[in-house]
Amino acid sequence: MSAYEWLNERLDLDRLNKKFMRKAFPVHHSFFLGEITLFAFITLVLTGLFLTFNFEPSARIIKVAGRELPAAYASVLYIDSLPFGKVIRSVHHWSAHIMVAAAFLHLLRILLSGAYKKPREINWFLGLALLGVVVFTAFTGYSLPYDAFSVTATQIGYGIGASIPYIGEWIAQLIFGGEFPTLHSLPRLYSLHVLWLPLTLMALIGLHMLIMIKQKHTQPRYAKAVAPGKILGVPMMPMQVSVMALLFLLYLGVLFILGGSIIAHPIEAYGPPSTSTPAVKPDWYFLWIYGILQIIPNTWVIPLPGGAEINPEFIGGVLVPGILGLVAVILPFVDNRKTKMRYVELPSRHPMRTSVTVGILVFFLVATLAGWKQELGLSNATLWTMLITFPLLAWWVTYVIMRAIWGRGGYEDLEA
């Protein structure tokens, strides 16, 4: 008796296979973006497990080989000295970048194909929450090596959190274990980074995928012509699983080449925290906020009752990203449909949505450019003009071009 038969007699695997493992996966290359996000997460968990075996979450100064160093910093040096230690730490670092990037591209795919509409609004909200938690998890990882760069970057994060009127200081001290940096900060950030946030991510990812299986993917439009009313795709077992396994192995391969050839965050180059601030620029996904923070004049202060105020840090670090998030949350309520959506919408047929998305992307790019204000020698006035006109121009030009080529658009939905 084979092992399968033995198990099948007890667990009725045939039924599971018929009911669940034959789920049809519609085929489109952009549908892999969510999977790549998942692969990045799995890689992060696995490499992270290795790092926890040797990392010491403490900012206490200890003596190591005649040098006085924070214990966390020294333990990262120790990790780097292990066989493959540097590579695994680098894979962890680069995988975090790829997870943020893949999650954002996945969001863009959903946005441009209208897949946030009924019945998939819940998964759109879950996806937004996931992006937020992913970015926050990446941020809590910043502080852990405890070098001059990471301490300064975390300091800025603390300042932004504390700038929220009334409740900011309270929230920031709760997260950072007091006014960062204290000796109580690292244990708390470490616990959040390796325990609470990954558990939250796992729960949200599980729910995200469960709902996706229940509601089924949106399909590429050719499916309608080939097999109307049916889900057209490859079965999960064995085809989709094989493709996924292949993609995951490919992902690991690329990441290990990357991590092996480019060592991430060389802490000895930054050195342990000192009284001089290194010239820090945050990771690319925070650069647009960093840029906005630099061009908001210090006169933008709105006093609130009770001595609190709305200050530039709050506007740049919390309000602007918060408004963008809010727009994303209300999108499915504003742009929705009565019937359940089954097929993806073509970006070309939705000139307004597509062109507004292009405008928002240009906004991100110009705000990022403002992060090089000093190096480029651009004035606040120039950057503000660019930040307002370029996105509007990009939106308008895209819209006009799309209308000229594809007409009014929108009609495809009537028949979907």
Binding site: I156, G159, Y166, Q173
Partner: protein, 204 residues
């Protein structure tokens, strides 16, 4: 009232009371998340009579005298030190102080009041987002925070002359006694980014 509804009502009421009590006691435990702040001799704020020691570089640990401060800048980063116990107060980042020397006539009148023999002291913690203000712009004779390029003018009470900081750097009045720079009081305004209610320190 039937027997069924009564039983249900009792179960509901006890469930509600149980959950409520459990929630309340959980809140009490969650109070342990509130960070505690221990004040040790190393974390005490600077006070009148404190000396200053160089915080970094080749002169690290040296007591600061007037001739250690180059006329017209750059500044020297320093920690306050209790003169009796010789405890350097470097356990609290907000104690980091910048000392600088100009000709007394270079300061405006308001600033000069808190200087002695041209020596002035400012908090080194940026009021924007709390980075260490660690760069010296020789051409402007000004401090710059490298994080978001906030610029402060030491000769005018560290007023903000560029970038996003909301307030000038807090000043610390100094006296010169026997060549040594001595604190003549604590910082005149809250150090670093001002907290939620305009009072530094929030709930600790």
């Amino acid at each position: 009232m039937s027997e069924k509804t009564t039983r249900r009502a009792v179960i509901r009421a006890s469930l509600g009371a149980g959950l409520g009590l459990a929630g309340l006691s959980a809140l009490f435990v969650a109070g342990g998340l509130k960070p505690k702040k221990e004040v040790t001799p190393e974390t005490e704020p600077p006070k009148k009579g404190d000396l200053f020691v160089v915080a970094d570089g080749p002169n690290k640990g040296k007591v600061i005298t007037v001739d250690l401060l180059p006329l017209g800048g750059p500044f020297v980063l320093a920690w306050p030190m209790d003169p009796k116990t010789k405890v350097v107060k470097n356990g609290e980042r907000n104690n980091l102080t910048m000392l600088i020397r100009f000709n007394p006539d270079d300061y405006d009148e308001k600033t000069r009041r808190y200087t002695d023999q041209g020596v002035a002291a400012f908090s080194a913690i940026c009021t924007h987002l709390g980075c260490t203000v660690s760069e010296w712009l020789a051409d402007k004779k000004a401090f710059m925070c490298p994080c978001h390029k906030g610029i402060y003018d030491p000769r005018h009470g560290a007023q903000v002359i560029g970038g996003p900081p909301p307030r000038p750097l807090p000043m610390l009045p100094v006296k010169v006694e026997g060549g040594k720079v001595v604190a003549d009081g604590g910082f005149l305004s809250p150090v670093g980014p001002v907290g939620t209610l305009g009072v530094k320190g929030g709930w600790v």
